[in-house]
Amino acid sequence: MIRSWLKVASFSFAVALIASQLAGQAKPAPAAKSILTAAELTLKKSIGSPQAPITLEIFSDYQCPACQDMYLHTTLPLIDNYVNTGKVYLVHRDFPLDMHPYSHQAARWLNAVAAATTLFEAAEIALYSKQEQWGSTGNIEQTLAGALPAADMNKVRAIELAQRTQLDAAVESDVALGKSRNVNGTPTVFVIQRGHPMVPLPSGPVPYPLLKQYLDSLLQQR
């Protein structure tokens, strides 16, 4: 009687072991293993310290010329002078506009970069500085491949392929957030300070010298 029970138990254990092995094989490749939520992706797309006194959330579209202008002439000096010095926490939000044919794809690729690597900033610089090229051909992957190391680019490709749905969902989550805040153009910047209501800046490129004066005055008031 005991022997037959032992047989049943060992058979069940073997079945459970085989089932778990099969389930393990069904899992995606290691590169695409980590499924990030939209919130986790947002964290990976943010630059600086979350403890900074001011948070700037920028809703942008990689194919929009005004966003290119804003990124190259305002965001980059802002990163150097305010984000890297701990004064500002910069949060990127995707807001691809339907008028641009490749902006949804670009947002997905950049989310894949954020999910797979720590090279989000380098990828952003590449896309914005070569916007005219990929904007006419749609060859975003090639543009990124020219800017990222091959090993990282392979990880990005794997994530982009395996988690396209999740990446698109993350982009749509940003778009929904933007719409809930009445964002109707890009770039749109929100200034957030603890204990103060969120302030939307007028939609459009923000000149760095004026933003600098504004941020300095906000920092002085604290």
Binding site: P197, P202, P207, Q213
Partner: protein
Amino acid sequence: MVEAAPAALSSSAPSASRRRYTTIALLIARIALGAIFVYAAYTKLHYAGAWHLHDYDFIFAFGITSYQMLSLQNALWLARVLPWLEVALGVLLIGGIALRWAGSAATALLLIFMTALARAWMLRLEITCGCFGNQSESPGRELLLDGVLLLLAVSVTAGAFLARCNSRMPNPTRHVTK
């Protein structure tokens, strides 16, 4: 002169009522125009659910710079001054104080706004109008609205100047009674 007297007397009743209607219409126009100026200032000082008396100038200046007409410092100066100028004009118009000057200033201001909007439209600049807060972004619609406001402002100014002229002119009925 004596023959003209009955005609003048007979036409005095309709002209008096017309004058009353005109006075009422101009009163409504100047109150509406004044209220719109005060509202325009309010949207620049109070937005996103709070008063921004300490930083309204920066926020409004971001909109002004999108017109690409002024230097950064001039845009900031204009952003600092304009809402209070709008409040002052609005109060003067509503209160009927210094109406000729307030009307003229409102007309001039609206002409400047319209020129800036038309220029931005012609150059196809992606502007943030800034006319009624930071969320108003349609130059075409704002241009139309400014056109209507300009009509009101011109009417109020013309009415104020005409009223001044009429008060200085001798009253014709006095000659008749004499």
